[in-house]
C-alpha cells in the first residue's frame, strides 16, 4: 500500500488537471509536475494493478489497436485504464491516471493498456516491466527524430526483451517477424499475422522504394492468430478454429489492428478468453480521435485521417474510395509531425489522380509542388488552416469530404471543426 506518502504530489496534480480542464483541453503538465514531486509515482501506481501493464507500440496503428484491446478486455468484465492518444509519454500517462487515482495513489482498475511511443518505450520498460507487449510494425517515421528504421527495430527489441509473460508480435512485419529479432526474448512469443491469400494487401515499407527489391523474409514460426478474410464480416483463426467478426473501421490495416488486439487479449486472458464475448464487442467500435473519424459541419460530412509517414499514407489511400470525394491535405512540419517533410516524396499520390481540392499547413506549398510532379491538379493552396477549411467546406456542397492531416495539423483542423460542428456522428 502506498499510504499517504504521495498525497501532496497527487493533490497538486489533480488540482492542476482540473484547472487545465476548465480552461479547455488536456495537457501533460499535471503529470510533469506530479512526476517532479514524486518521481516514482507512476511505477508505484501501475505496480498495484493485479493484471499488470500491457504495452502497445510500433510505428502505425497504436491508438486504434489500444482502443480495440480496451474494448475486448472490458467485454470480459475487466476494469481497464488506458491513456488517451497523444499522451504516450510517462508524464502524459501520469496526467491521464491522475483522474483515476485516489489521494493514496490507489487505482480502481484490473489492468492498464498503454500505447507508448517507440523511442519512449525503451525508457518506460526500464521502470515498468510490461506483462504483455504488443509490437505492431516498423515503418519509416519522422527520420529526423529517430535516425533510422534499424534503430527503431532496436528500440522495439529492447521492449521485447524486457517483456515478462507474453510478447505478441506481428509476424507479417519483415523486421519484427525475424528469428534475429526474437533471439533473446524470454517471454513466450505469440505471433499474429495474415493468411497468404491476403499477403498482397499488406504493405511492408521496403516495397515503397522499389518493386524489384524484396523485403527480408519473415522467418519466425507460423503465427497463432491469423487474419483469414476481410470484408464487412472478417474472419480470424486461432486455436484451430475460425471466427467471424465485424469491425466497422475503414481499411485493411484496421482489420489487421483488430487481429493484433485479439491476439493480445488472448495473451492476457489465456484460457479465460471467450471468443464470442470478445468479438461481440467489435461491431460497436468507432474510429479513434482523428483516425478516420467523421464530423458533421454545416451538414457536410468530413472525415479526418491522420497520416504520419509514407507507409501510413499509402495504406490509408489504398483503403479508401476516391471518386465523388473532395480531398484536402494538411501538412505541418512541427516537432510532433517531424521537421523534415522529405517523406511526402515517398508517397505515390496517384490514387488522388482526379485532383486535390485544398492543401494547407505550414508546408502547403511543398505539397502543391509534390502534387505538380505527380501531375495531380490542386485547386487551392492556403497555409492557414482556418481559411483553408472555410474554402474546403464551401466547395462541392453535399459531396463527402476527407482531410488527410499530419499530427499537429489534425489537432488544429479538429479544433476548428469542433467549434463549428453542429454535432458529431461516429
Amino acid at each position: 500500500m502506498l499510504g499517504f506518502r504521495y498525497s501532496p504530489a497527487i493533490a497538486v496534480g489533480k488540482l492542476l488537471r482540473i484547472a487545465l480542464r476548465l480552461r479547455g483541453g488536456g495537457s501533460a503538465l499535471p503529470g510533469l509536475v506530479t512526476e517532479f514531486f514524486a518521481p516514482n509515482l507512476l511505477s508505484k501506481v501501475l505496480g498495484q494493478l493485479p493484471r499488470g501493464v500491457i504495452l502497445v507500440t510500433g510505428t502505425n496503428g497504436k491508438t486504434t489497436t489500444t482502443k480495440i484491446l480496451v474494448e475486448l478486455l472490458s467485454a470480459h468484465g475487466l476494469t481497464v485504464i488506458s491513456n488517451p492518444s497523444g499522451s504516450n509519454y510517462s508524464r502524459g500517462i501520469l496526467s491521464a491516471l491522475l483522474g483515476s487515482v485516489d489521494m493514496r495513489g490507489r487505482l480502481d482498475a484490473d489492468i492498464a493498456v498503454l500505447e507508448i511511443d517507440e523511442a519512449h518505450a525503451v525508457s518506460f520498460v526500464r521502470v515498468i516491466q510490461p506483462k504483455v507487449s504488443l509490437l505492431l510494425n516498423v515503418m519509416r517515421d519522422q527520420m529526423d527524430r529517430y535516425g533510422e528504421m534499424d534503430r527503431t527495430t532496436q528500440m522495439l527489441h529492447k521492449v521485447a526483451v524486457a517483456t515478462r509473460d507474453v510478447l505478441v508480435v506481428n509476424f507479417a512485419d519483415p523486421r519484427l517477424g525475424s528469428a534475429d529479432f526474437l533471439r533473446d526474448v524470454t517471454a513466450r512469443v505469440s505471433g499474429f499475422g495474415i493468411s497468404d491469400r491476403l499477403r498482397h494487401l499488406y504493405a511492408v515499407d521496403d516495397e515503397l522504394t522499389s518493386e524489384v527489391d524484396e523485403a527480408p523474409a519473415a522467418e519466425a514460426a507460423s503465427p497463432a492468430t491469423v487474419l483469414e478474410e476481410v470484408g464487412t464480416t472478417s474472419v480470424v483463426s486461432f486455436g484451430g478454429r475460425t471466427h467471424e467478426f465485424q469491425l466497422p473501421l475503414d481499411g485493411f490495416y484496421n482489420q489487421v489492428n483488430g487481429v493484433a488486439a485479439v491476439a493480445a487479449c488472448r495473451a492476457v486472458l489465456g484460457d479465460s478468453f471467450e471468443p464470442k464475448r470478445g468479438l461481440a464487442a467489435l461491431p460497436s467500435i468507432v474510429p479513434a480521435f482523428g483516425r478516420g473519424e467523421t464530423l458533421v459541419v454545416d451538414g457536410e460530412e468530413v472525415q479526418l485521417v491522420l497520416v504520419k509517414n509514407p507507409g501510413g499514407f499509402r495504406v490509408v489511400m489504398a483503403a479508401f474510395e476516391h471518386s465523388n470525394v473532395s480531398t484536402m491535405i494538411a501538412l505541418n512540419d512541427n516537432d510532433a509531425d517531424g521537421r523534415d517533410v522529405s517523406w511526402i516524396w515517398d508517397v505515390d499520390f496517384s490514387p488522388l489522380g482526379e485532383g486535390v481540392d485544398v492543401v494547407t499547413g505550414t508546408r502547403a506549398h511543398d505539397l502543391r509542388l509534390r502534387l505538380n510532379y505527380d501531375e495531380i491538379p490542386c485547386s487551392v493552396v492556403e497555409p492557414n488552416p482556418a481559411r483553408a477549411l472555410r474554402e474546403f467546406l464551401a466547395r462541392n456542397p453535399g459531396e463527402r469530404k476527407r482531410i488527410y492531416c499530419t499530427y499537429t495539423a489534425m489537432l488544429a483542423v479538429r479544433r476548428i471543426l469542433r467549434l463549428e460542428a453542429l454535432g458529431e456522428v461516429a
Binding site: M143, D144, E148, D150, S210, D340, S342, E375
Partner: protein
C-alpha cells in the same frame, strides 16, 4: 519524329532512399518529359549489370547498414563510374552515396568503409546528428534550399570544390561552413528535401549538361516554376 531519349541511372533505389530522394529521380524525369524528351529510368540494384552510357546518374542516402550492403557492388563497378565521371557525365550523389563517392566513410561498427574516391572527400563518424532546415549558397546555382540529417563528418581535399557555403545549417561537418562537393559534373551533397524539386536550377543544370552531351548544344524550354518559388519561400520562413 520520334522523341529524343535520355537515360537516367538510379543507383540502389531499394537500399539508398530513406529521405524521399526518390523525388530527385521524379523531378529529372518530369522536367525532361515536360520538354518533350523520353526518359529511360534504369534502376541499378546490387548484382545488376550497368547500362552502356547513362546521360545522368543519381543516388541517395541510406541507413548505415544499407551503405555497407551496397558498397561491394559499388566498388565492383568503380572503374566504369570513374570513367563516366572523368568524361563529364552529370551525377548527383546525396548523403550516403555522396560519402561512398569519396575515399572512405565508416561502418556501424566504426571501422573505415572504402569508397570510390571519385570525389576527393573523406567521411568520419561524429558525435550527434546534424539535423535541420538548411540553405547552401552556391555561386553557380544560387541559394539551395534543403533539409540536412546526417551523422557523418565530411571533409574536402584539394581536388574538389565545395557545392557552396552554408549561411544557415551545419553543412558537411558543422565546422568549416561548407556544404557538398563539386568535381567536373559530379555533385555530392547532404541536402535532402529532396534537393531537386525545390532547386530547379540545379535540376536543369544536370539536364542541360546531359542533353548538350547527347544531342549537341540545346536550349532548354523554360518551365512554369511558380509552385517552386512559393515552396522555397515557405521553407525559408521555417525555423531551423
Amino acid at each position: 519524329m520520334t522523341a529524343e531519349r535520355v537515360t537516367v541511372l538510379n543507383l540502389y533505389p531499394g537500399h539508398m532512399n530513406v529521405y524521399g530522394d526518390r523525388g530527385n529521380m521524379l523531378t529529372l524525369r518530369r522536367r525532361l518529359e515536360w520538354r518533350g524528351y523520353e526518359v529511360d529510368a534504369v534502376d541499378h540494384h546490387p548484382g545488376d549489370v550497368l547500362p552502356d552510357s547513362p546521360d545522368i546518374v543519381v543516388g541517395g542516402g541510406g541507413q548505415d547498414a544499407a551503405q555497407a550492403l551496397v558498397q561491394p557492388d559499388l566498388l565492383e563497378h568503380g572503374a566504369r563510374l570513374r570513367e563516366w565521371a572523368e568524361s563529364g557525365t552529370p551525377m548527383l550523389m546525396v548523403c550516403g552515396l555522396f560519402q561512398l563517392f569519396g575515399h572512405h566513410t565508416y561502418t556501424v561498427a566504426g571501422s573505415a568503409l572504402p569508397g570510390l574516391g571519385i570525389l576527393d572527400v573523406t567521411t568520419d563518424a561524429g558525435g550527434g546528428r546534424l539535423v535541420g532546415n538548411t540553405v547552401t549558397v552556391s555561386e553557380e546555382f544560387g541559394p539551395l534550399i534543403g533539409f540536412e540529417n546526417h551523422a557523418g563528418r565530411t571533409r574536402l581535399g584539394p581536388g574538389v570544390n565545395p557545392l557552396g557555403k552554408v549561411p544557415r545549417g551545419q553543412g558537411n561537418n558543422g565546422t568549416d561552413g561548407l556544404e557538398g562537393a563539386h568535381y567536373k559534373n559530379v555533385i555530392g551533397t547532404y541536402l535532402h528535401g529532396p534537393v531537386l524539386p525545390k532547386n530547379p536550377r540545379l535540376a536543369d543544370h544536370l539536364i542541360q549538361v546531359a542533353v548538350d552531351r547527347r544531342f549537341g548544344p540545346t536550349e532548354l524550354a523554360p518551365l512554369d516554376d511558380s509552385a517552386v518559388d512559393d515552396a522555397r519561400a515557405s521553407a525559408l520562413a521555417r525555423r531551423r
